[in-house]
C-alpha cells in the first residue's frame, strides 16, 4: 500500500512538472498556420461549450427579434465579423491563419443559443482569436447580432439582399 501511494504521488507531481518543462523548453508548437488535431479540437471545443453554457445560464432570454433586428445584426456582422468568420453568400473558405481556425459561420451555422451567442460576443473566447466586443457594442447591438448569428446559415435571399443592398453575393 505504501508503495502504491508513493507511485501515485510521484505521478501526480511529475506529470504537471513534465508538462511545464515541455513548454518551458519550447517543445510545444506555436505556429498558427496548421490544423489542430481532431483530439485537441474535440476536447477543447467541448470545454468551451460547457463553460459558455455554464456562464450564459444566467443571461436572460432576449426579446424576440424581428426582421429589422436581423438586418441590423447582419450589418454588424458584415462590418465587424466577416473578415474572420466568412462573408455572406460566398463559397466556403477554410481559415488557415488563426489557430484554432475561426468557424465559417455562414456555412456551418452555430450550435449556440442566442443568450450564449450574446455572451460569447460580449466576453470573447480566451486563447482564441475571438476578442471581447462588450466595450464596443450596445446591449441592443449585441442582441441583434446574436439573433442574426443564430440564423446565419438559414437566411432568406431577401434578407441577405437587405443586409448588403449594393452587392449580389
Amino acid at each position: 500500500m505504501k508503495n502504491f501511494v508513493l507511485g501515485f504521488t510521484v505521478a501526480i507531481l511529475i506529470l504537471p512538472i513534465g508538462c511545464l518543462a515541455y513548454f518551458a523548453i519550447g517543445f510545444s508548437q506555436t505556429r498558427a498556420d496548421t490544423k489542430p488535431s481532431a483530439l485537441e479540437t474535440s476536447i477543447l471545443q467541448s470545454a468551451v461549450r460547457a463553460s459558455v453554457r455554464r456562464a450564459a445560464a444566467s443571461v436572460p432570454n432576449p426579446p424576440p427579434a424581428n426582421d429589422d433586428d436581423l438586418v441590423a445584426g447582419g450589418k454588424l456582422y458584415v462590418a465587424g465579423c466577416q473578415g474572420c468568420h466568412g462573408k455572406l453568400g460566398q463559397s466556403y473558405r477554410e481559415d488557415h491563419e488563426l489557430f484554432p481556425p475561426a468557424p465559417q459561420l455562414p456555412h456551418t451555422g452555430t450550435q449556440y443559443s442566442e443568450p450564449e451567442l450574446y455572451w460569447i460576443v460580449k466576453h470573447g473566447i480566451r486563447m482564441t482569436g475571438m476578442s471581447a466586443y462588450g466595450p464596443f457594442y450596445s446591449e441592443k447591438e449585441l442582441w441583434s447580432l446574436a439573433a442574426f448569428l443564430r440564423r446565419i446559415n438559414n437566411l432568406s435571399p431577401g434578407m441577405i439582399e437587405n443586409i448588403r443592398p449594393n452587392k449580389s453575393g
Binding site: A24, T30, A50, M127
Partner: protein, 170 residues
C-alpha cells in the same frame, strides 16, 4: 516495485480524467475580458518565446537596416497591425486589449524577440492567440521589412516617422 508502478499508473489516469471532468463541467473560465493572472502570463509568454526561439530561422535579415526598409515595414505595420498592436504616437489599442492574452503594444514596449523571431511570428502566427499567420498575405521580404520596423520600435528615427506619415497606407 510493481506496486509503485501501479500507483504511478493510477495517478496518471486520475490526473487525465480529472482534467477532462474539469473541462467538461465547464469549470474552465473562457471569457477573454479578464486580466491574465501573472503566473499564467509568465508561463504562457516564456513557453511561446522558447518555442519561437527554437523554430525561428537562423538566417539573418536579408534587408539593409536603412530608412527605406523601415519605412516600407512601417507602412505595412500601419496598414495591417495597428488595429491590435497600437499606432506609434497614439494611445494603446483598445481593441488589442480585448484579446486573451492581449496584443502586445509595440509602440510602447520594445519586443524581446529578435528580428528573425518577429519575422517568424508574423509569417506563421501564434497558436491560441489572436495572432493570425500572415504568410499567405505578404512575401518574405515584406515580412522582413516589417520585422526590422518592429525591432526598431519604440525609438524610430524622426525621418522614418515622417516618411510613414507622409505616405499613409492605402
Amino acid at each position: 516495485m510493481k506496486k509503485v508502478a501501479a500507483g504511478f499508473f493510477a495517478g496518471s489516469i486520475v490526473l487525465v480524467i480529472g482534467a477532462l471532468v474539469y473541462l467538461n463541467l465547464g469549470l474552465l473560465d473562457v471569457r477573454s475580458d479578464a486580466p491574465v493572472p501573472d503566473t499564467t502570463a509568465r508561463l504562457l509568454y516564456s513557453g511561446i518565446h522558447a518555442s519561437v526561439r527554437r523554430s525561428a530561422p537562423k538566417a539573418q535579415n536579408p534587408l539593409p537596416r536603412n530608412d527605406e526598409t523601415l519605412i516600407a515595414g512601417g507602412r505595412l505595420y500601419l496598414n495591417d497591425c495597428v488595429g491590435c498592436h497600437g499606432e506609434p504616437g497614439k494611445p494603446p489599442s483598445d481593441f488589442g486589449a480585448t484579446f486573451y492574452p492581449p496584443a502586445p503594444q509595440f509602440p510602447r514596449a520594445r519586443t524581446k524577440y529578435s528580428e528573425a523571431e518577429v519575422f517568424w511570428v508574423a509569417k506563421h502566427g501564434v497558436r491560441r492567440t489572436g495572432m493570425a499567420a500572415q504568410g499567405s498575405t505578404y512575401s518574405d521580404l515584406q515580412l522582413w521589412s516589417l520585422a526590422t520596423f518592429i525591432g526598431h520600435l519604440p525609438n524610430l528615427p524622426p525621418l522614418v516617422l515622417e516618411g510613414i506619415q507622409q505616405h499613409p497606407a492605402k
